[in-house]
Structure formats: C-alpha cells, structure tokens
Symmetry: C2
Subunit: 190 residues, 2 copies
C-alpha cells in the first residue's frame, strides 16, 4: 500500500535495537482517515477468505482491526492483556513474549466472544517476531474456531514472524514490508 | 442516542459493586458499524466547538475516539498507560485513580502530539467518577492546549463525574446516561 510506505519513509524513525518509531501515525497518534484506508485495503486483501470475526490484541491493534471490521462489516474482538472484572472466571488465556518490552504478556479472550465455528481473521499493527500473533492463533485454536488469515499494517521481515506463521497455511498480508532497518535508513520491499 | 440505550437495556448486565458489563459491544467485542454511529453522533454533538484534535485514554477509549475523529476528520491521540520505548524522555504524565481497578494508573502523552494552540475534545467510553477524564484534562492543561469538550459513550450519573467536570465550563455529552444501577435493573435517563 503506497500510502503506508510513503508515511514510513516520511515519518518513521529508527531508534536503535530494531525499534521503528511510528507513533505519529500508528500507536500514539492516529489519523482516522488514513487508518480507514488501511482497513479497506486489508478487507480487500482478505475478501476471499470470508472471515466472520476479527481478533486483535490491545492496544495498537484496535485501530486497524476496527477499521478492517468496518470495511468487512464483522465484529472485532480485542484480546485483553489484563483480565477486567467484567470477564467470567473461565477464559482463554495464553502467554506471549513481548519482544519490544522484554517481558511476557498475557492475552485473554472471553469464550463469550470467540466461539467454535467462527472464521477468524487476525489483524495487528506489527508483524515482527510473530510471537503476539502466534499467541492469538493459540486463542483461536483453544476456542475451536478456524483461523482464515493474518494481516498487519507493517511487517518487519528480518524478525522472522512470517517464517514462524507460514506453516499455519493461511494467507499472511502486510501493507508495508521492511526488509532492513538501521541507522542508515529504512529499506522497504517494493 | 436510542441505539446505545437499546443495547444497554438488551446486553448490559449489572455485576455488583457499581460495575456494568458492556463488554459485548464496548470494551472487549466491538461492532464497528455501531461504533461508527456513536462517533458520528458525538461529532454532531460537538460540531460547534470546532476541535482540532481528540484525546482519549487507552484501551477502551480508542474505538469511540477514532470513530469520532473519522467523522470530524481530525487526528486522535491516545494517552498511554505505560511509556513505550518509542516515546521521548520528556513527556506529559499524570496519575489518575482507577475506580474499577482500585489502583492508580499513569496517563502519558508525548509533547510531539499535544501542542499549545490545539483545541482538544476528550472522548472516552465511560464518564463515571470522572477521574480518568480529569487526568486527561490535566494533560491538556500541561500542554498549553485548550479543552473544548468532553464526550463519553455511557455516563454513570450516580458516580458524580459530571459534577466534578462541570466547573471546567465546557460542554459535556454522553450517548446514554444511567441514573441508577442495581440488581433490580438499569435505569436510563430519557
């Protein structure tokens, strides 16, 4: 998606340690019109797999997931990282290591909103090491639902997430793919 | 907003301790089309105060804020509760007590995205005790920006947030207002 690539080139900044700063348009400040365009493009890419539900992880996954859900007219569920008091005692819970934070995070979904028979499309802001998305995949499996695709706004190809997820046999799409990232610049796949 | 009142009556559940369960349509599962309607209604209610920016708090504020921002065509900033590595060292930070969690939470905004001269509309999922919103108001003041309005999806009138915020002298709007909540039912203002 050209608009995403242009924004990464124009506003993305490399902070060292493999970290890309995109908080001016993805994970702190969001331009809703741009995010709507992203959602429409993800909806187009996954139109053939007919999802009935989108699953994402709070926090930065919410904006792209909700805009994809709007374009596809299907509900969005966001896995919580701490169990709210409104959740039942019995939940689906998995642990995913967070690469950027250096800690393990819990991903929790209520069985009320992820049921057997659902066709689930996972949407997140980043596809990097793939560990958060792999956690979401485990929640889909725990619910007896069917994973039909994985989409992300930005892929960091060099972190190997795609290799980890490819054996799942579902389409994996990203709106921009970074092949190389260092103090000399950001290299994007054409 | 009739659609919100109907959903609260149909799907809301009282869990005791003043807690209303609305996670089937607001803070765990979201219907993007319904949330878009909410955003359009909030945009209509605040059309006269001409905001240039929306401020919310992660996590459940993101969906209503982004849909309001979409309807008004203005950027959305979500205050973070933990400082990401991509944020500069110098930030606006305030502490807000969380009524439902019984703990204090940090609300953090980067000065890059909340500047002097901005006209800020605060949007959140709940207006209850008002303590989170009051925290956001302090961030607006710290940035030297101007607060122009406060909007929420659901107001819990009996928790007194509106009384706390009224002295600010800006319009305060909610899409549904709960006047009473107990095991006998949910009472909504007409």
């Amino acid at each position: 998606m050209q608009e995403m690539k242009d924004l990464i080139r124009k506003k993305g900044a490399y902070l060292g340690g493999g970290i890309l700063k995109v908080d001016s348009f993805i994970n702190h400040q969001v331009d809703p019109s741009f995010m709507k365009n992203c959602g429409e493009e993800l909806a187009r890419l996954f139109s053939e797999v007919s999802p009935t539900r989108i699953l994402t992880a709070e926090i930065s996954g919410i904006a792209p997931a909700i805009m994809t859900g709007l374009a596809m007219d299907i509900p969005v569920v966001f896995a919580r990282k701490t169990k709210p008091v409104t959740m039942p005692d019995q939940v689906y819970l998995t642990i995913a290591p967070s690469h950027t934070k250096g800690i393990n995070v819990e991903l929790i979904v209520s069985p009320e909103y992820l049921a057997k028979g659902e066709r689930v499309l996972i949407i997140d802001d980043f596809l990097a090491s793939g560990s958060t998305i792999k956690g979401l995949v485990r929640l889909v499996a725990a619910a007896g639902a069917t994973l039909v695709g994985i989409g992300a706004l930005i892929e960091k190809e060099f972190e190997g997430g795609r290799d980890l997820l490819t054996p799942l046999g579902v389409p994996i799409e990203s709106l921009a793919c970074i092949t190389h990232l260092d103090e000399n610049g950001i290299v994007l796949k054409d």
